[in-house]
């Protein structure tokens, strides 16, 4: 049973254990224009497993920053934090495993000449809410 958007849970978990702060340097599901930070957007993902209900969710972490080095540094922190991490819980989900789907990608610059980088991470998880 889904109760909370997965991306919000993941971001809250990330904010708790990293240098990022929600709505200051980390936003879930939205793009904050003209602001340096990380924007987590849920990406189209595979269907949940029919038998077990295991959910596969890919999340794109976009870094937008005037300082390219800082954008890269922030995404590196996320990369190291989530890649091959296993068996951990967020507020509403139990994450079996998470891994990066590639490397940090250069996505050009935005209209204000700030650098855009992107990192995709795939989460394999289950809802912690009991199924009735």
């Amino acid at each position: 049973m889904l109760r909370n958007p997965i991306v919000q849970d993941i971001c809250r978990f990330l904010a708790d254990y990293s240098s990022l702060t929600m709505r200051e340097s980390l936003w879930a599901g939205e793009l904050k224009m003209g602001t340096n930070g990380i924007f987590a957007i849920a990406a189209p993902s595979e269907q949940p497993d029919k038998e077990t209900g295991i959910i596969y969710q890919s999340i794109e972490f976009w870094a937008r920053d005037k300082d390219t080095a800082r954008a890269f540094e922030r995404l590196s922190e996320i990369y190291n934090f989530f890649d091959r991490r296993h068996h951990y819980s967020t507020d509403n989900y139990y994450i079996h495993f998470s891994h990066c789907e590639g490397q940090i990608e250069d996505m050009d610059k935005d209209i204000e000449n700030a650098k855009l980088l992107k990192l995709s991470i795939r989460f394999i998880l289950m809802s912690e809410q009991a199924i009735s």
């Binding site: 003209g34 957007i41 590639g102 209209i111 204000e112």
Partner: protein, 125 residues
Amino acid sequence: MGVRVEDKMPGFVRMNEAAMERALKRMRNDIFVLSQFKAPYEGGELRASGEQMQRGRLKHRVQYGATGAQGYASYQHRGMRRDGSRVVKRYTTAGTGKQFLADSGKIIAPKSGQYFKREAESVRV
């Protein structure tokens, strides 16, 4: 003694198509996010008019201005009127520019191989 041949092709075809669909969705999603970062900004109406959708099997679209401001969106995208007049010379937000959607597509399109490869790897029969 006998040999049993199991045909997994139908399953493979089904899962392969789903993977290709996902790859296109992810490309569409990235083009949309990138175009949102690049679209001219004054009051936010143009950016708010952006949307992405699936138009059918393996058909996806990102568009701006469908909610009544299509003329304005295409004018901003061209940076001028269709006849070449009224060229936008000064943008309210520094660095704002025309071709925000086409440019986003040009960045993502050459990477299409990566998107398809990534999703194809997830196909298991």
